[in-house]
């Protein structure tokens, strides 16, 4: 049965959603933040793992999305969902623009360029404090007026599922194949008829849009927004989560986000040492298990649906591309 793993995941989600109200407020918060990171790592893995565009500006897009939505709501009284949509649209546009501008850059140059972009965004947000309230923090309108976190939990879950469905559909389609082709060898891809420029821009626009979505949700969930949302430290956390989980597949990247976030809460007693530990795990992962720690587990899981003892399907590029 093909796609069994998707049904298993959906079936596992049902009791989780039905009994979500039994979680206490603290763990619900952890789950919401994990899902927020899940959207970010999934979209970053689309960019860095699929297309090979190692952008360090991903959190800058999250903060652009957050501030856009928060300011629109504060100034013009726009309904919050509309504000978030505006943030996403702006992030898509700016992301596409950044993607277009750095078409000629590869590897480290692209990383430096996007690092520069994220620093400029952060510096501007923290310096123009008449508009953004700077480091003091911008108060944002809450998405729900109840004191309970349950609606936020369902919203975050909905947004995560929506993001995964859209990005999953993209990487399952021919586009996903083109993305991977661009990553492996741009010239060979171009020679085979892939419009490299278009797909690089597209990948940037899609990934930035989802980063903006995550940022917008975060802004209206936390209630206060500071420029440090776009800081290099948070970017490093996203990189750590994605690489530890496995940056070449979206589900493993999301798994990395959940794993790191939950581990971070379990090890709360160790304070700052947790980040050091995650740094060490990242380096060990890169050194000895570059595909990520969750990738073997995921591949095993995906094989659940395959008939036991059947002849394994030929490993063509199309097959590879069709697995997320």
């Amino acid at each position: 049965m093909r796609g069994l793993h998707v049904y298993v995941l959906l079936a596992a989600a049902v009791p989780l959603l039905a009994y979500a109200h039994l979680l206490n407020s603290y763990w619900m918060h952890v789950a919401i933040i994990a899902m927020f990171y899940g959207i970010l790592t999934a979209s970053w893995s689309l960019l860095a793992g699929y297309v090979g565009l190692f952008s360090l500006g991903h959190m800058a897009f999250a903060s652009v999305g957050g501030y856009t939505s928060a300011l629109l709501v504060n100034w013009y009284g726009v309904p919050i969902p509309l504000g978030m949509a505006a943030g996403v649209a702006l992030c898509c546009a700016v992301g596409g623009l950044i993607g277009w501008v750095c078409l000629r850059m590869t590897g480290p140059y692209l990383a430096i360029f996007t690092l520069g972009f994220s620093e400029i965004v952060r510096i501007t947000f923290s310096t123009e404090d008449q508009v953004t309230a700077g480091m003091a923090g911008l108060h944002t309108a809450p998405l729900f007026l109840t004191g309970s976190r349950l609606p936020y939990f369902y919203t975050a879950f909905g947004l995560l599922v929506f993001s995964l469905a859209v990005m999953g559909a993209v990487v399952h389609s021919r586009w996903g194949l083109f993305f991977r082709a661009v990553r492996e060898d741009e010239q060979a891809a171009a020679a085979s008829g892939v419009a490299v420029a278009r797909f690089r821009i597209l990948a940037f626009a899609i990934a930035s849009g989802f980063a903006g979505l995550a940022g917008g949700f975060y802004a209206h969930y936390i209630g206060i927004l500071t420029p440090s949302l776009g800081s290099l430290d948070l970017m490093a956390v996203v990189v750590v989560m994605t690489v530890i989980g496995g940056m070449e597949r979206i589900p493993t990247a999301v798994g990395g986000a959940f794993g790191v976030e939950v581990l971070q809460e379990f090890l709360r007693a160790y304070g700052q040492w947790r980040l050091v530990l995650f740094g060490v795990i990242l380096l060990l992962t890169m050194r000895f298990a570059r595909n990520g720690l969750l990738t073997p587990v995921w591949l095993q899981f995906v094989r659940l649906g395959e008939v036991r003892g059947a002849r394994p399907a030929p490993r063509s590029v199309g097959q590879e591309g069709s697995r997320i």
Binding site: P108, E119, V276
Partner: protein, 299 residues
């Protein structure tokens, strides 16, 4: 006007420090073919090293500077041996991605480790040379004079090492062609290690020199990392002389930009943004930098 001259003098000193950091980035790039995203954090480690050598071992500042450079040189060698050897293996795919993630992760690790070991509060080691000098109406602290002079000496030694000694020549040979260097009997692996160590030591020297002027903080490497990239992109990836000139030019520009910016409360914040903006514009129009040496492009 005097303020302007003072700013220019300060800019020159900061420029020398920038040049030290950027020269390290360039050397590592030209030999290992990676951009070291942890360079600013090695600079931070160098500063703290000098601080603790002075505080705990009681060495005078100048030997402490050298001791700090030596210990970060050793640290650089260990890190290179532990983490970067897959870069030279034929079996490693997408080496630039590997180098990027590993050095980025290393930066994250060093920064958080420093936060635990050294604490979040700024620390200031004793001056190399206390007091200040007055040239006409220009006032400049002796620490800045010392940092500028010592930085220039280090840069001169570096240029001598790179151009006049056999090891420097061998480094240049490896940067031009790994295979050709191996044919004439240079072991490229050894020079990979040496290059990373030298780059780390230069960063440490810069950190130790800057420590008495500004204070030490665990996140001091973040902005200097970006400044080093600005310089290296401007001065050309792989050119030591280019990064020295670029460093001093950036220090000067930043000093004068701060002085001329119409809104003094924001001048300091936008100074950094200005350098980054220059970097982005250069990258858009010349993706390999202004004076990049052709053979040093990333493959």
């Amino acid at each position: 006007m005097d303020y302007l001259y003072t700013q220019a003098a300060n800019g020159a000193v900061i420029g020398v420090i920038y040049a030290l950091i950027a020269a390290g980035v360039t050397i590592i790039f030209s030999i290992l073919k990676i951009v070291n995203f942890a360079h600013g954090d090695l600079y931070m480690v160098g500063g703290y090293c000098a601080y603790y050598i002075i505080r705990l071992l009681g060495l005078p500042p100048l030997p402490a500077l050298l001791a700090s450079m030596a210990s970060v040189f050793a640290l650089g060698i260990v890190l290179e041996r532990l983490l970067l050897t897959p870069l030279y293996s034929e079996r490693t795919e997408r080496k630039d991605e590997y180098g990027l993630i590993v050095t980025f992760g290393l930066a994250f690790l060093l920064r958080n480790l420093a936060l635990i070991l050294f604490g979040p509060f700024p620390l200031k080691p004793p001056s190399f040379w206390s007091g200040l000098h007055r040239f006409g109406n220009i006032i400049i602290t002796n620490d800045r004079i010392f940092a500028g002079a010592a930085g220039l000496v280090l840069l001169a030694v570096l240029l001598y090492f790179m151009n006049r000694t056999i090891w420097g020549q061998a480094l240049d040979a490896v940067s031009q062609s790994r295979d050709a260097a191996a044919i004439v009997g240079i072991n490229p692996r050894r020079f990979n290690t040496l290059a990373f160590g030298v780059g780390a030591a230069l960063a440490a020297g810069a950190g130790a020199l800057i420590a008495p002027i500004f204070s030490l903080a665990p996140d001091m490497g973040v902005s200097s990392n970006i400044q080093a990239y600005v310089i290296v992109i401007l001065g050309g990836m792989g050119s030591v002389l280019g990064s020295i000139i670029g460093g001093i030019a950036l220090g000067e520009t930043e000093g004068l930009f701060t002085a001329y910016f119409p809104d003094p409360t924001r001048a300091l914040a936008y100074t950094n943004a200005f350098g980054v903006l220059v970097l982005m514009v250069v990258l858009i129009f010349r993706p390999t930098g202004l004076f990049g040496r052709r053979h040093l492009r990333m493959e």
